[in-house]
Amino acid sequence: MPSQQAGFAPNLGFYLKSLKAQPVESSIENLISLLKRRQITNSRPCAVATAHLLLQVVAKFRWTNVDKLIERIQDVGRRLIEAQPREMVVGNIVRRVLGMVRDEAKEERNDDASDSASNSQMGSPRQDHSDQGASHLGGPPPSFSPLRFSTTEDSDSTEANGDDVFGGKHQAASRPPLITSHTSYAPAGGLPPQKSMFQLLSANPSPASTPSGAQSPHNTSSLNASSLAHRITTSSKDLKAEVIEGIEEIVDELDQADDRIAAQSLEYIHSNEVILTHSSSKSVQKFLLEAAKKRKFTVIIAESYPNDHEATHKSVTRSISTDAEGADELSTPKFSKSLSDAGITVILMTDATIFAIMSRVNKVILATHAVIANGGLIAAAGARIIAKAARVHRTPVIVVSGVYKLSPQYPFEFESLIEYGDPGNIVRYQDGALVENLEVDNPVYDYVPPDLVDLYITNMIVADHYKSEDINFDKPELQ
């Protein structure tokens, strides 16, 4: 159904335009309804919309201390996630922003505290919190959200296999404090002594410091936290400006993610290879196009019928016009080349042929909807049989994914993350009697277990973008 809404239907571009004019509250409601109605779908548009909305939220919210800001962001985030729990990037972006706010706040605090004698104690606040929190650990009851995500303790035990590329790092290090440390930040809990001082400093946001988009330096491509932190310590800007700048950097990162991934393509693709890919992903296409500048190879595209075949067909025949992503506004306009224009032989095949041709394929490159904590993928339906057939033929599987798709979530039951599409795509309503008698199943996503993936290519070094406090921010019962 969403594909039928042509130009005038509200999409990402329209939404972003409306953001500036509307009051924040209606923007939030607007995005919630867009998410619910699936008028903004797919990872990147959702991420972009969330980041822009949070920018407005931060800019227009009058806050007296940083806890209030965090609470506010969490509240908005919760509502967005509730609107569409299966778009995991929404939660990821909210977590990124929260983590960034916490970092900024900490830096600010450290700056102020550097004069005081208690400096050495400040150096490891997380350690403090986790020690404090140890007594709380028995607390959280094993209650589940509607999606039945596991509590973190459960996931740690179930993913004992060593294959989790991303998940392991921040889980192992930061899981214990995750449940408890939030309570130490919560207003009700015992405030750390330094908090009052830091409240004083950030209490009065001056009107001048509410920057518009133009103020932030768009050319800054240094996105990693350490350089950010360094800049903050040297300059003493207002916290709010810093946060807004931070969100803008996240927006920039979303914009550049595909290009940064594509820049690495020559390291993975050599001449005369046969590469299999699936459905119509911008990331994969850019990746292959970048490699095509230097090398000649063959790409086999499985069409991903019945949910994404139209986009796939359009992408190979280059009749890309109205794109679900709202390409007019956001994605770089210069990108209009199709793979076959770039001199690559493109072979379009049906999903059923995958096993038959896998013996000729050198590499499988997949895009994904999300990467969950164990490194498993939530990807377009059909990805699992591709990855499995590749494993049977010992063909390497490469996944390209922006860091924003990495989610700390780890579900009990993978089925809970799978979205089901319109069965009318499979059996049309004209088929009359068939519709009456048949149960028709049309999953949109597949869960691909991490052991079927050989390599992930992301846009930057995977750092700890999410603070342990925020992993379960959308599920207060777990905090």
Partner: protein, 445 residues
């Protein structure tokens, strides 16, 4: 070429030309097309020189030959046709870019043009064969068993309508002058299935066994009876036996997954349902043929609880399954299963989920050939069948370096298959060559 070929009926030739001409006028003439034209002209001249006739014979790929024919006609009216036309063509040739081969490189050995119409059919082809050819080409008759039966019925009609020419006998004349051209004609619509190949070699053996002393009428009757018996033994009874065995294997509460449509799977499931077994069916299907929809409909109408999904939903449903039943196009001698494209994926997922995979296959589909991958032995259907009307793919031939590929079968590794149910009993994949020798090649022993 038999001499009867010569007076090609004019209406047929005319019926062929108009439609293709429209098409080729729409698309630009490219270098290779011109080359083909030249070749066709050359062939026509040669044919003229030999037989003194104006229209070339043989089954040409209709679409590209429409244009050359028109040119030839023009040429022949202008009298001195050779030099001027060749001149103008060689002038025009360098300009358009060379037309690219739209066939996929590693399937190129299989990509043959498929005849789409009965226009241009040689005169001595039996009407029944023409009808069957069209039914093959439009997939009205589809599936190994159905094609086998239809072919044998056509053979029967051929035998019945056959008149033995003077100074020869049925035994010496029929195979080379009637049977082989008809088989060739059918192949031009779609390649033979393995079962058809087996049946044809059996039938030729039968013809060679006909005693030379028999009268023509008696010989014809004997051949028709032999075909009837073959159908009864190798297909009707075999299906009956397989369905009976399979029905015994279905238990109450089973969830049976099947892929695409196999007539014998459908029959077995219907029979099991009629026998009072309570089970559920998950019908998995794929583009472009959507055969499984037919199966799902039949089963649902019979009152069986059916879930229908495409191959993208395979991974989601495999966990609920208790048995996987698959049909076969052929069983190879190395125990591999040649079946509708996508079957290997189903078997692979079933193996990964540790579900038993049972193949239902008549022994007439066994072959002594072996296959290691799905590329050497396969059938490539016309790529245009993948185009969805009104979809973005309609202009795919104009997109440079874009190829569509539509293979029909894939090869399932033997290790995915637990059991093959045949009319001679249930066997593991390793027993295929033994059974094949016993049943299909009795003379060799």
């Amino acid at each position: 070429m038999p001499s009867t070929d010569q007076p090609v009926p004019a209406p047929a030739a005319q019926a062929e030309s108009p439609a293709p001409i429209q098409q080729s006028e729409a698309s630009k003439l490219t270098g290779a097309e011109l080359k083909k034209q030249k070749q066709a002209e050359k062939a026509a001249r040669r044919a003229q020189a030999v037989q003194g006739k104006h229209i070339p014979t043989g089954p040409p790929p209709a679409i590209q030959k429409g244009e050359p024919k028109q040119q030839k006609r023009r040429g022949s009216t202008s009298g001195s046709r050779d030099l001027p036309i060749r001149q103008s063509e060689s002038n025009a040739a360098p300009k358009p870019p060379p037309v690219e081969d739209k066939t996929v490189e590693f399937f190129r050995h299989l990509s043959k043009p498929h005849r789409k119409t009965i226009a241009g059919t040689p005169k001595d082809i039996h009407p029944a064969a023409q009808i069957l050819g069209m039914q093959f080409s439009t997939y009205v008759i589809c599936g190994s068993t159905a094609r086998l039966l239809a072919t044998l019925e056509v053979f029967k009609e051929l035998v019945q309508s056959y008149v033995v020419p003077p100074r020869t006998t049925l035994k010496l004349h029929f195979t080379t002058h009637v049977l082989n051209p008809h088989i060739g004609y059918l192949i031009s619509f779609r390649p033979l299935s393995i079962s058809m190949g087996n049946a044809i070699s059996w039938f030729k053996r039968e013809i060679s066994k006909v005693s030379i002393d028999l009268s023509d009428v008696e010989a014809k009757k004997r051949l028709c009876d032999a075909i009837d018996l073959y159908i009864r033994e190798r297909v009707t009874f075999a299906d009956h036996a397989i369905a009976k065995t399979t029905t015994e294997k279905v238990r109450d509460g089973d969830v049976i997954l099947t892929y695409a449509k196999s007539s014998i799977v459908q029959r077995s499931l219907l029979q099991a349902h009629a026998g009072g077994k309570k089970f559920r069916v998950i019908a998995v299907d794929s583009r472009p043929l959507h055969e499984g929809k037919n199966l799902a409909e039949t089963l649902a109408n019979a009152g069986i609880e059916v879930k229908y999904c495409l191959i993208n939903g395979l991974s989601h449903n495999i966990q609920d399954v208790t048995k996987v039943l698959l049909g076969a196009h052929a069983m190879m001698s190395n125990g591999r299963l040649l079946s509708r494209i996508g079957t290997a994926l189903v078997a692979m997922e079933a193996k990964a989920a540790e579900k038993p995979v049972i193949v239902l296959c008549e022994t007439v589909k066994f072959t002594e050939r072996v296959a290691l991958d799905s590329i050497v032995l396969n059938e490539i259907a016309p790529a245009d069948e993948l185009v969805i009307p009104g979809g973005a793919l309609e202009g795919w031939r104009d997109v440079k370096k874009l190829q569509l590929c539509n293979p029909m079968y894939d090869v399932t590794p033997a290790e995915y298959i637990q059991m093959i149910v045949t009319e001679s009993g249930c066997v593991p994949p390793t027993s295929v060559p033994v059974l094949h020798r016993l049943v299909n090649e009795p003379e060799i022993q």
